[in-house]
Symmetry: C2
Subunit: 217 residues, 2 copies
């Protein structure tokens, strides 16, 4: 029984990878670079995105917004005048805690792929399952807020291990926290050696230019 469950999970992930490759081919054909943007709830993905999307001259950005319910983040981003497509995981599933390749595929025909150069897929706030499901992205960026504690890379290693860039966010709060930044960075490096980490604050703007340059490049 235990082995059966493992097998079912493996088959589901295999199917997901097949669809993710199809998504990737579609994105490539349209010359769209895709970022899978992930974090715990409230780490500051949307607020950072609001700052960064305005700092990308010459790059036409689109956003695919993943949420269990509602369109609050999409509404916020729409004010930036970038095309935003909402994807809710709620109907039919009782609320999936992550995006998968098939959900992204179902939104494919609504994405203005000919009008954008960069698609940011804002995943559901969760440090576990989003890391397990490729959706057709080129790169993965994760946002870790300093308010979450230094231990998170060790508690959620798959998320930190499979990302290409770690944004250490809300860095402006550091003076008010018992957060050992060096230890956190050492923990990140222990699960994903050499991965680039950028200190960011949507409030002060620290790191925003560096992230924008990375996304544009």
């Amino acid at each position: 029984m235990h082995r059966t469950k493992v097998k079912i999970v493996e088959e589901a992930l295999d199917a997901n990878n097949t669809i993710a490759r199809a998504n990737r081919e579609d994105f490539d054909r349209h010359g769209v670079r895709v970022v899978n943007f992930m974090s715990a709830p409230g780490a500051g993905k949307t607020t950072l995105l609001e700052r960064v999307a305005g700092d990308l001259p010459g790059v036409r950005v689109g956003v695919l917004e993943g949420d269990v319910q509602g369109s609050m983040d999409a509404d916020r981003l729409a004010s930036l005048h970038v095309p935003v497509t909402q994807l809710n995981t709620d109907p039919g599933f009782g609320g999936e805690c992550h995006l998968d390749a098939n959900m992204v595929r179902s939104a494919m025909h609504e994405l203005p792929l000919d009008e954008i150069d960069l698609l940011v897929i804002e995943n559901v706030g969760n440090l576990v399952c989003p890391a397990e499901f490729r959706v057709g992205e080129d790169v993965r960026v994760m946002v870790a807020s300093v308010t979450e504690g230094e231990d998170k890379p060790l508690k959620y290693p798959l998320m930190f291990r499979t990302c290409d860039l770690v944004l250490v966010n809300k860095i402006d709060l550091l003076p008010h926290l018992d957060f050992d930044l060096d230890r956190f960075l050492a923990n990140v490096d222990s699960v994903n050696p050499g991965v680039r980490a950028v200190l960011t604050s949507a409030k002060t703007g620290e790191g925003v230019e560096e992230v924008a340059a990375w996304l544009a490049g």
Copy 2:
């Protein structure tokens, strides 16, 4: 196909509820009150628990610690000299993002039910799936950190709707955040009318006594 997936999810939840009832009967037979303790990653569950567990004279506390990997939180709590049982969701699943009734059942024989009055089940840090799976608890407590933003009750309504107590944590950081506490509490009340909310800080000790009294009562 879509309908089939819904049916499979419903059947899984039905099976879970059956096992949750069996767990509950076992807990009741031993006179153990059970709290399902939930939050997003890094909201401060373990640190609050460290404070509260020391503030419960006359109540023998045990902890069942749920994590994807590792035993960092269990190690921290063990220093309180309360019995701590570790439950990892990693083996065989690729890392489940929540505890379910069957996982708790698998740990049942390791729990010192005759030696405790209150079992705190610290769930995996996640605002989605833990809310969908009853594990045999009497009550649900969720911890929401003020660093996560006012919108979370509206974005993760099932979690906020199905809990019996909301701890609004890290309240000491309020002066450094753009966080509208009244709006947050109104959002909580809109998804779970009348639910009790306690402002807490593991750092200053605010609210710790009130939480301890609630748990003991």
